[in-house]
């Protein structure tokens, strides 16, 4: 599988497939990596070191800051796989790389490809958007 690169990098982690859209701001606590959105079915789960699979994004334009802060604090996801383009997360990842030299790849996939990634599967991402399930 190959994704379109919104932010490049290599990473590996177990997939956390979100059941519903999530805004990083108001949805993830960057100081713990936990999902805090009171209405989200996966509230309480940690995004740290996971390959976050998000079919559709929503909400706040502050999500770039939350991603960069989660990287700084060491609670960021390993990678983000999106079903629709999101410049807010792409730029959050770009800033984290410039400030902290940590890369969180952000890739855009078709919804059909996204659906082939089961929750908990180990996903390996290579530079240039290569995606392999292990």
């Amino acid at each position: 599988m190959k994704g379109r690169v919104l932010a490049d990098g290599a990473a590996e982690g177990s997939a956390l497939v979100l059941d519903e859209p999530l805004s990083f701001w108001g949805g993830i606590d960057p100081a713990s990596g936990l999902i805090i959105d009171a209405r989200h079915p996966q509230r309480g789960e940690s995004v740290k070191d996971r390959v976050l699979v998000i079919g559709s994004v929503r909400g706040s334009s502050s999500s770039s800051s939350i991603l960069a802060e989660a990287v700084r604090a060491g609670f960021a996801p390993a990678a983000i796989l999106l079903g629709e383009p999101d410049l807010i997360l792409a730029v959050g990842a770009a800033v984290a790389e410039e400030l902290y030299q940590v890369r969180v790849p952000v890739l855009l996939l078709s919804l059909a490809d996204l659906a082939t990634i089961p929750d908990g599967a180990v996903v390996a991402i290579g530079e240039g958007g290569e995606i392999a399930l292990r």
């Binding site: 559709s56 929503r58 909400g59 334009s61 410049l87 959050g92 800033v95 984290a96």
Partner: protein, 418 residues
């Protein structure tokens, strides 16, 4: 600029604009006439590290730029109840953005200020989800869904990617939502309807542009603001049309740009009631008589008309003992309210006025184990996660009566016979 000829800060900004252009698939950049920047809200040290890279690199904004809310009320710092160090860092961040040449407006509703109302068709770079929707939908100016970092990067570069909602074709509605025949006329005349409609719009539309049919013509900016703020909370809505109210939807055909939509759907009373009920998180859906500790209004920041409505609904009464009634607004609007005596009268009736920030961002509410009531779909959506309160959603009248009674009061006929 990219090569560093305009300084390291400008080169950094331009790198981010180019990254945004790549993410959006844009082939060129276009000039903008203004920006609204949300990056001035402290979200941890990363936000300081970022702005210091711009400041140290000598960056300055190249277009008139307003600022969104910050972490604290700089005019009333005594309202802060949190960690003093966080207040200090939040204040430093706000100061850094001023030093980049941004105007100290600190409001999430810049469109309520005469200085930040771009004209129909004007290209701008706005952040803050509710402001983005308002800019595109109500002003008819053009912005993509910019976020933290990108907003100030575009303001410094003076350019944005030529993509998305900057282009006419992307502004076409692809979803038609028709208000169902079972929605009572009286509900359409009440403010409480509009944030709830916005929640439904966000769920139905996701990130698509929708057009709403069947609303009263010429809706007020306050009602359009409420729709957009809620829709950008429950979905990734950056633009909607309301036939007969928004400038690119004089008719349904205009909003569709003469083409067929992808989808047509009806929004009926049952769906609206369900969305309304979900906005209340308090135990047992907070039946009439449930004690409340707080009423928070003004998300997005209250307009002068909304401040006057608070006074009108209070009708000389005060909140019950122990109930905090707080309204957030912009410092420039507060100054106008001071001038006409409105602010003084509201304070004399026990209303707290908060500026520069919002009561679900800054720790300003009196600690209370009791639920908080609000007329804002957005506040109801985010406050439980952000500040750990249980929420009761209601109309402005329900909120004010409940504040006065200290207990939830309901206007029983509002949402149709049960």
């Amino acid at each position: 600029m990219l090569a560093g000829g305009a300084g390291d800060g400008a080169a950094f900004a331009m790198r981010l604009v180019v990254r945004a252009a790549e993410a959006l698939g844009a082939r060129r950049l276009i000039p903008i006439t203004g920006a609204h920047v949300d990056s001035c809200l402290y979200h941890g040290e990363a936000t300081i590290d970022f702005v210091e890279k711009l400041v140290d690199g000598g960056a300055q904004v190249s277009v008139p730029t307003t600022l969104n809310v910050g972490a604290l009320d700089l005019l009333h710092p005594e309202l802060w109840r949190g960690d003093p160090r966080t207040a200090e860092r939040g204040q430093l961040l706000m100061r850094h953005y001023r030093s980049l040449g941004c105007q100290p407006t600190y409001t999430c509703a810049p469109y309520q200020l005469a200085i930040a109302r771009p004209a129909l068709g004007e290209q701008v770079a706005w952040a803050e989800s509710n402001a983005i929707v308002f800019c595109n939908s109500v002003l008819g100016a053009r912005t993509e869904r910019y976020g933290d970092f990108t907003d100030i990067a575009c303001a410094v570069a003076g350019r944005v990617p030529d993509a998305g909602l900057h282009r006419t074709e992307a502004r076409r509605a692809v979803l038609v939502l028709r208000i169902g025949p079972d929605v009572p006329d009286r509900l359409l005349t009440d403010d409480a309807f509009y944030p709830v409609l916005g929640i439904v719009l966000g769920r139905r539309a996701g990130s698509r542009v929708a057009v709403i049919e069947g609303l009263p013509q010429g809706l007020s900016e306050e009602r359009l603001k409420a729709i957009g703020a809620a829709a950008a909370s429950s979905g990734a809505v950056a633009m909607f049309h309301a036939v007969g109210s928004t400038p690119e939807a004089a008719t349904l055909e205009a909003a569709l740009q003469g083409r067929e939509p992808e989808e047509r759907a009806e929004v009926g009373l049952a769906e609206l009631r369900a969305a309304r009920d979900e906005l209340t998180t308090a135990a047992g859906a907070a039946p009439v008589g449930t004690r409340i500790g707080t009423v928070s209004l003004g998300t997005p920041h209250a307009s002068l008309a909304e401040l006057r409505a608070v006074e009108r609904e209070l009708a000389g009464a005060r909140p019950a003992d122990g109930v905090e009634l707080l309204v957030s607004t912009a410092r420039q609007l507060l100054a106008e309210a001071e001038e006409e005596g409105l602010a003084g009268r509201l304070r004399a009736q026990g209303v707290e006025l908060l500026v520069d920030t919002c009561s679900y961002i800054a720790p300003v509410l009196r600690p209370s184990p009791l639920p908080a009531m609000t007329d804002s779909g957005k506040w109801a959506f985010y406050a439980p996660g952000n500040i750990g309160v249980e929420v009761v959603f209601g109309s402005l009248r329900e909120c004010i009566r409940s504040a006065v009674d200290g207990r939830v009061w309901r206007d029983h006929d509002l949402w149709g016979a049960a």
